[in-house]
Symmetry: C2
Subunit: 148 residues, 2 copies
């Protein structure tokens, strides 16, 4: 006697779609899109933005050091810097003591971009927690910290 294979019960579906992981992925995707939407005017991607912010915040880091800031592989940094260098926003300079290391520095144009980038971060973060009241924001932030 033949029987159709059972499909997953509705309850299971609900529990997956309402899982924390799923929600976080959705929110993260939204964040990415919002960032990209605003960054496109400045000709950079979120990936490149992260590198640029790091360089603006700390001048003269090596590529490896930059990568460690957000655990990105070396080649990601290498290529992001290729872009940002071509865009004239930063440049590679020889390291004072090591000939295989570069130190990375924002150019004048890079520094000029800084306020706009900071504004974007703040705007997107504000939009993210807009549905929450002050107490909820504090709790949310604390909980996220526990997970990191």
């Amino acid at each position: 006697m033949r029987q159709e294979p059972m499909s997953i019960p509705e309850q299971t579906r609900q529990s997956r779609l309402s899982s924390n992981g799923w929600k976080i992925q959705r929110i993260a995707k939204w964040l990415d899109r919002e960032m990209d939407r605003r960054l496109i005017d400045h000709g950079i991607t979120v990936q490149q933005f992260a590198v640029m912010m790091t360089v603006l915040e700390t001048d003269g880091l090596s590529q490896t050091q930059i990568g460690r800031q957000f655990s990105a592989p070396a080649y990601t940094i290498s290529r992001a810097i290729d872009h940002l260098e071509r865009a004239g926003l930063l440049d590679r300079r020889p390291h004072p003591t090591s000939r295989r290391t570069h130190t990375i520095h924002a150019t004048a144009a890079g520094h000029k971009l800084s306020p706009a980038l900071l504004a974007i971060v703040q705007e997107v973060n504000a939009a993210l927690v807009a549905p929450l009241d002050t107490a909820e924001r504090d709790r949310f932030s604390a909980l996220l910290t526990k997970l990191t």
Copy 2:
């Protein structure tokens, strides 16, 4: 008189790196890696996994309907199904009334994979909230829902 361009104050850096957006992105990346790490044994990616789950949960959806489940563009679904079909986990069948629509169905092999996939979801979600106690988990889940 020449002056070095100001770099972004430490406080600003701290506020960016501790922002909710940043933390969420970090967690989302972690989730992705954890899922991928487990799914690789089954030869599918997270993207394909999402499609597969949807098909397992609801048999006979069209590709567009599947895409709406997680607001993925049509071509993503098209290609994910290409893979899953080639892997023998599901198949496209003609729609009963519309000749341009496919209905998507899990194969026997697809159904057989179901428990393993469900286990992965549960495992990763459990690992995600492992640092939180029961009350915190409830609060976290509620807050995430508000943001969605």
